[in-house]
Symmetry: D2
Subunit: 379 residues, 4 copies
């Protein structure tokens, strides 16, 4: 019998890209065995998909209730240990809640919940049950992001004095200018997507990344969002002023109408001694800027990287790894935690990131609605 972690999946069937991403990530370090799933609300679709991807149909269920009941009925050593939640956003909270309460570990796609209140509730449950909870802020899995975090923690750039993150995409542009389309897209419907589109979907990635790499907390924010049309209820662009300390400031810029941009997510941290810059679209380069020194470009797999960074690189320098590899690293971290092995601080984002992220999203909207005023984040 395999000693892999028994893994269940909710959602992610059919042509789902996120499903591919999670399955490949789970396979990368030979740590997980896909054991059961509710790929689809229609169990026939789920069963067909199981056959298609070549897994047993024995533990394919019609819904989460059945799944949980069946798994709990099994002896513990045969039971699915962790579930990945890849369903539509509004299902993240109820499913995570149910799973945590039933004692399962959870890997959850972002956003963790629809509201900050739900996030707090989920946090309480997890803290009580002591389950492992991973939140797939995938970009933190890149080796050079981990290197950035480590170097800042080591004091290599000195005290942080300025932060700047950008997350620019253009994909909403082609549909926002058409009245019919903007009225009907689920992404622009608050009931389906929550109170924010741009901040909720991508701004929160930039926010999490800033806190992740600096190891510091944003204290207060002032947001200016853009809806572009009066009849559009959701932000599709926005700039957020940040305060991490009285004199530690920054800015977060996020857009889905940055025409022609693909997934242009960048982060720059300026310290008293040096600076570090990273760009998601070219993730294998980390730029180190120091006054009066040549620009240095760090790349994965070299011995000058931290052990944490190297742990996430599988091949020798010059062999590009991509976003599948980043997600694989997060799955690897969760696997270590499930097995009780030692893992690195920050090896996978989790409940705290989710709670803080939901607070950021709600406060951004609040700051904007109240006339672009400073609001304090919950600490």
């Amino acid at each position: 019998m395999s000693n892999k972690i028994k893994w269940g999946v909710l959602g992610g069937g059919g042509d789902s890209l996120i499903g591919v991403l999670h399955r490949v990530a789970a396979s990368m370090f030979d740590a997980y065995q896909l054991t059961g799933a509710v790929f689809n609300p229609d169990v026939h679709v789920s069963l067909a998909f199981a056959k298609q991807i070549g897994i047993s149909t024995d533990r394919i269920h019609a819904n989460l209730d059945d799944m949980i009941a069946a798994e709990l009925a099994r002896p513990e050593e045969d039971r699915i240990q962790v579930f990945s939640i890849l369903t539509p956003n509004f299902l993240h909270f109820p499913m995570a809640k149910q799973l945590l309460e039933a004692g399962f570990h959870v890997i959850c796609e972002k956003p963790m919940t629809m509201t900050y209140e739900e996030a707090l509730e989920l946090q309480k449950i997890q803290q009580k049950n002591e389950n492992i909870f991973g939140l797939t802020h995938t970009y933190t899995g890149y080796p050079m992001v981990r290197q950035m975090k480590q170097m800042i923690a080591n004091g290599e750039i000195g005290a942080v004095q300025k932060v700047d993150a950008q997350y620019y995409q253009g994909w909403i542009n082609p549909l926002i200018h058409d009245q019919e389309q903007r009225a009907t897209t689920w992404r622009l419907n608050p009931e389906k997507s929550g109170i924010s589109c741009c901040m909720g979907d991508i701004g929160v990635h930039a926010y999490q990344m800033l806190e992740y790499v600096t190891g510091q907390k944003v204290q207060s924010i002032l947001a200016d969002l853009n809806h572009l049309y009066a009849d559009n209820q959701m932000d599709i662009d926005g700039t957020v002023l940040l305060r991490l300390g009285e004199y530690t400031k920054g800015v977060l810029r996020s857009s889905q109408i940055a025409t022609g941009e693909e997934n242009n997510f960048t982060v720059a941290i300026y310290g008293k001694k040096a600076a570090l810059k990273w760009e998601q679209e070219n993730p294998n380069y980390l730029y180190l800027l120091e006054e009066g020194q040549p620009l240095r470009v760090l790349k994965p797999g070299h011995g000058y990287n931290s052990e944490f960074s190297l742990d996430g690189t599988k091949l020798p320098p010059g062999h590009p790894e991509g976003i599948f590899d980043a997600m694989g690293n997060i799955y690897k971290g969760v696997a270590k935690a499930i097995r009780g092995e030692k893992f690195h601080e920050g090896e996978f984002p989790g409940m705290t990131d989710g709670v803080r992220g939901m607070n950021f999203i709600e406060k951004s909207v609040q700051s904007h609605r109240d006339g672009n005023v400073w609001v304090t984040l919950e600490s």
Copy 2:
């Protein structure tokens, strides 16, 4: 006798880098003859410098009063036609005023004045006398900036929906952390530098560039500046939220504590149809982004560029031109104006840029002082 424009220079002697920049720029299109100067408050220094650079000492004077008197005493056809003001900032306004009132044309280094009030006064004088006035926002002289302006004017990116400019330098970082140094640097002394350091020195370049390339006016701003130390009176970093229309928003980011950055000035304009991006440190590339199309990279000297852009390129594609060439293009534009030749809209920045820029600087400081609130710019 030469038919070049007779050109006088105030300041810019000795090792002055700005002096080199202007002399080379003036020589580039064979349009100007350096005819007279007050290089230095000490006339002996001026005379020595004249000899050093190989020009006649006949029209070197001890001060501007003498210079103006001597030139006005000459027959008009022999008189210096235009003066470049390269003196310390606080002298820009009085010298420009005196020259304009005496009927000379003026090329002035930035900032035009110390205050918005002075700027308005200068504008009145110039409008009355109809002199030509060029303000050296040098970066507008790059061929690919001109191409960007022209393409936006032509509607090639559609209606502008988002603007983003960054001007990051790190040069103040090494001195700001030392209490003695930050107390004594003239750049951080409001009496010598005006009310703003970062916005006044570089933020205003970004502001002017945004209005230059879009052909639109920023209507209101909200600024968050950073002084980094309580005993430092001047901003050395700041982010400014921008409104160009109810739904046309943007952000301007400027810093002198972006550790390790050299002169990282970038501008991105996102339109309904496409986007254009440009970076000062690699000025010969203009990026055109369009949804679902390959990224296109435009370069100087090609036939696909506008006549305005091509007018500023001297060599075939692949022969890099730099900032001297950008300044040369501005001098070329002023020469056309002096000679009464046709020139392109935007061929050289001038009085309006100066007035709007001073207003932007003052309003940025006001917005910040009043608690990061929206303030309206004068139209």
Copy 3:
């Protein structure tokens, strides 16, 4: 029962990077089930590794003979269909031969054999048995390489008039300068590595790529190799002049002493109408150069790419994929072939690439030994 392809692996156990690469690639499209293996000459090691990565130990064998015998004893529908050969180079040929003769499909790591003669022998066997044979010239699996091939085939750059490929690494540099090390490294031992180090290991990748993307054959070559030390028997650097036609020329440059280079493999094809350039270290960009047109940069996942290219991209534009994904695409191609599905011309390199590659390696060495003279490749 799973309908995945039953897959066996030879070699690639333990910390083998190539083992990880193949297992991840095989998992990417849910097409393969790792069913049996000889991971290591020591069966205990193999069994332990099987447990470690969570697969059944039932079909782990001590050697290939046992493996083949056991599989052939199974009913065909339960039998392993394809084996991947990841063993040391000198075992590629005998193992591939044995497997093909026994009726199995084969995926083989490069180099296919130790000599051209062996390559021809293997080709005969495969042609007789009609097995599917994939050779992992991994770089051909990148979506933008496929796009390059397709565009050239479509005539988008016109008739090819010049080709230029570079494969520069620096990894041998740290050891070649030490007499002891260069005498003992297996890579520099002809008995273990074959007659060529640099051309055999990486030059052949560049050669295969040039023929792959152009769809043309190199007719003759002139090679100048470098051994750097008189006591080193193997080439570690070399330049090869190429003729693809009387007036279609090119050059292939390959080095393992290009100090500090990682895996700098580039290919440029210049046609009568346009040119295409690609770089392995930034594999998601394909550069299209056309006289008098802006440079165009094509990226994966966009609708302007060919169906063949799109077939190898799993995520939306802006989500970098890397070398695992390239290998995954090759495995996907082999899977299609095994299942009798339609696949693209060039979807996986195979026997012809292997035969031609071995001929190229031997002829390069011959050209050099004979005094850098032109030699004709077998057609």
Copy 4:
């Protein structure tokens, strides 16, 4: 009276780009005074051009004979000291010869002569007369090329073990495919252009650069040139194998049919300890590669650069300088030599570069004609 160097110009009038380039370069450091000229074979055109660019017509002459006679008739302190030869290629040699014999210093555009024999003759004259002779291999004037030369001379990359230069342009591509055009273009006419087009025009730049930065001499070469059409007499593309020592090898690639390339001139030098790479189209970056170290990118104007490099940078880091500035640095070097001031080894290319370059061109053609064989360069 000005103490600038009195400077004469032959050719370069009207719309001549090379004329602009030399005039701007001469003006950059305030060292030269344009004093006399034969801009054009038609003296009326010369006179009109002198007026247009605003210089006195007193010393504009109909031809070089008159010019020399008139200048020699002047007192030495009033005499033109140095002439720049910007005329068509076939006039370089006779004009340079006449000027050197008459005792003038010379700055000559490349190619220095039409043949190697002429080059040797010119060298003898110059050595006898001890005039200063500058040859405008402009690219050596870039600050980062000078830094590269200096670092190699300092041993910072260790012993050179491999060199690779590329000079790719595409400009002949649009005309070579038309029989009429290729028969009538002067560049493809040996009587007007000498025996080589591609090697003579740009290959020689790459050759000179390799010797310039390494401080070593190429000993022997093997060239494979391409004419593309049987009725075209001139090479328009070629690859040259290089030997700088028994185990120090390299390759030089040059093309005018590299479709869509602008002026893509690159040089890479790999040493035992590290490597340096530079690209003309982005001349302000010098890449330092070292095994196991982050890539370092050096830029002009920083204190870590050599004094030689810094001497050629006029503005602070981040202010791009271009090819005008490179030429200006060469003019600055010649000015130092004329004034008897100390200058840097390699501050301006000269007679030796010209002689070696002509030898390289002729030997390349010879190697190709003789069947791509090794030929020895004159030492």
